[in-house]
């Protein structure tokens, strides 16, 4: 259902964009001269554009499903190829960010949770809100100035692996860490207040054992579902981070396409990022129901 909406939205982009596509194509064929009405009509008929919007939508959908995503207005390259080139880079960046963020979030979250209301907890929470208040473009710039401009350890931009990956991945992971740590902390605090922890303590189990066997396992459940949900966020965050560090993924492709008003590319990027985003969301929802069947909306 949501996927359907996304496809309608991206299709509508073409319809609401100023300039009729047939006029544009006719204009291109006339070598930049303003096309007369008859030529536009002819092009419309030739391309089958002279049908009502809903028919056009299904035609367009069919083209998309059969992997004909059109050509870039700017480079003339087929959009499918562009996306296939760029997509692995974004995936790589998102996974790297995840690999940095997830262990850190668990660690800080657990630490804060089991030391609730102590100075360690307060310090971690303060750090998290600091990270959270830095907008990603600003955090990225600060990291860039520190590591690339002042210290000269890491490159400010580029696509060489692994040096160029570190700064963008760190930037992207920040927001993730802020949210996931808080969720982990809340979950640990919640688990610690459960009766079975009291039972375990009454049995005389050692603290270490209680923590490892009961707390870690039980508090991980909500964390994992949220971790998935947040993974979708990494995709969206990659638009800004990739632009900032000139990382050649889908995000920077989208940002550049927007500058040059390259509609077929914009459309494809929106569909890919949006589609993945929705798929991850739906999957996480499903996972949540599997883990905890009591949940009903």
């Amino acid at each position: 259902m949501t996927l359907f909406t996304l496809s309608v939205v991206s299709f509508l982009l073409f319809l609401i964009a100023p300039g009729d596509p047939a006029t544009l194509i006719a204009w291109e064929r006339m070598g930049g001269e303003f096309p007369p009405e008859e030529v536009v009509e002819a092009v419309k008929e030739e391309l089958g554009l002279d049908v009502p919007p809903h028919v056009l939508y299904f035609k367009w959908l069919w083209m998309y499903l059969s992997r004909d995503w059109g050509k870039s207005f700017v480079t003339g390259q087929p959009v499918v190829e562009l996306i296939a080139d760029r997509f692995p880079m974004t995936l790589f960046l998102a996974l790297a960010a995840f690999a940095i963020a997830f262990p850190i979030s668990l660690l800080t979250g657990f630490l804060a949770g089991i030391k609730k209301d102590t100075s360690t907890d307060a310090l971690i929470l303060l750090g998290l809100s600091l990270i959270d208040s830095l907008p990603s473009f600003f955090l990225g710039i600060l990291l860039m100035i520190l590591f690339a401009v002042k210290l000269h350890i890491l490159p400010a931009a580029g696509s060489s692996i692994p040096e160029s990956l570190i700064l963008p991945a760190l930037t992207l992971s920040a927001g993730y860490i802020a949210v996931t740590s808080r969720i982990t902390r809340a979950s640990v605090v919640d688990t610690l207040s459960k009766d079975y922890i009291l039972t375990a303590m009454a049995k005389g189990l050692r603290r270490r054992e209680i923590l490892l066997r009961h707390v870690v396992r039980n508090s991980l459940i909500p964390v994992i579902t949220y971790a998935g949900l947040e993974l979708a966020w990494l995709l969206e965050g990659s638009v800004i981070v990739e632009t900032l560090f000139a990382w050649p993924g889908i995000g920077s492709l989208l940002a550049n396409a927007i500058m040059s008003k390259d509609l077929p590319v914009i459309q494809a990027c929106v569909i890919i990022i949006g589609g993945l985003f929705i798929t991850i969301n739906t999957f996480t929802d499903f996972l949540y129901h599997v883990i905890n069947p009591e949940v009903r909306y």
């Binding site: 208040s133 907008p135 710039i141 632009t243 989208l254 927007i258 500058m259 914009i266 459309q267 985003f277």
Partner: protein, 273 residues
């Protein structure tokens, strides 16, 4: 009843209000114009003549920050207001009517909520162009569902309370019940959400500006300034750091207001929304 006002609320409000005042009276505070170029004095670091330095065209950064803040705060306020009104109307209708109407409205809300907001905003702006009314529209479209959901949930909760159930017996009409009893009882948490949201919208505007899809030059805006100053990041980092700090301060202040309001109105320790 006297509430003890949380420190967070005071600090946040003072920061936001003083920023807003400074932005409103920008013309009186700065001797320069935001688009006044002076190529002989370009890329100057902060000094006594230009307290925040100058940019690549020799324009005074302090002046541009003030006018940029004016635009950002104006758009963010308009967006928050529009989203709140949209969310309020949809949430009230959905929660109060229930049944089929509720089903459809909530389905729409869920769909909008599950679309990636930045990407969708970018796409729509690419199609309709980045004018200021368009920006307000696009950001409001992606922000209202949170309000609608929250309001609906609260209405579901109070709808079956005795004082609401007894109102029709007094002869109260739907309109009266909604306006006089339901909305006043749901408005507090909504205000909390709106205070958090204001800062986030400032950041969204700056993000769009940074990506080139926000407020267009020569009108100054923090994100756009970062975008323009980005090519000088190696030599004159103040070009990007100053607008970045401004955006961060606005976000922190608005979060403080949100947290403060939350603990004051609900008497609960602050929970991140």
């Amino acid at each position: 009843m006297i509430w003890s006002i949380p420190k967070k609320l005071i600090v946040g409000t003072v920061i936001l209000l003083s920023l807003a005042l400074v932005f409103i009276f920008a013309l009186l505070l700065s001797p320069y114009k935001y688009d006044e170029q002076n190529l002989r004095e370009r890329l100057q670091p902060p000094n006594s003549k230009h307290i925040f330095g100058t940019d690549g065209f020799g324009r005074d950064i302090f002046t541009r920050i003030l006018f940029g803040g004016r635009i950002s705060f104006l758009i963010a306020a308009l967006v928050t207001l529009t989203a709140l009104i949209m969310g309020l109307s949809i949430g009230v209708v959905s929660g109060y009517c229930g049944g089929f109407v509720d089903e459809i409205l909530m389905r729409i809300t869920d769909i909008v909520l599950s679309l990636p907001s930045l990407v969708v905003s970018l796409a729509i702006i690419a199609a309709i162009g980045p004018s200021i009314p368009n920006l307000v529209l696009v950001l409001a479209i992606t922000s209202w569902p949170k309000y609608a959901r929250m309001i609906r949930a609260m209405i579901m909760e109070i709808k079956n309370k005795d004082f609401i159930l007894l109102l029709p017996l007094m002869g109260a009409g739907d309109r009266y019940i909604v306006l006089k009893h339901i909305i006043p009882n749901t408005i507090q948490p909504v205000l909390v959400l709106a205070s958090f949201d204001f800062g986030r919208k400032v950041i969204s505007i700056a993000s769009l500006g940074f990506l080139g899809a926000g407020v267009q030059p020569p009108t100054p805006e923090w994100g756009t300034m970062i975008r323009e100053g980005f090519s000088y990041v190696f030599t004159s980092p103040h070009l990007v750091v100053i607008p970045g700090i401004m955006a961060t301060v606005s976000l922190v202040a608005s979060n403080l207001v949100g947290e403060g309001l939350q603990s004051m109105l609900m008497g609960r320790p602050s929970v991140k929304l």
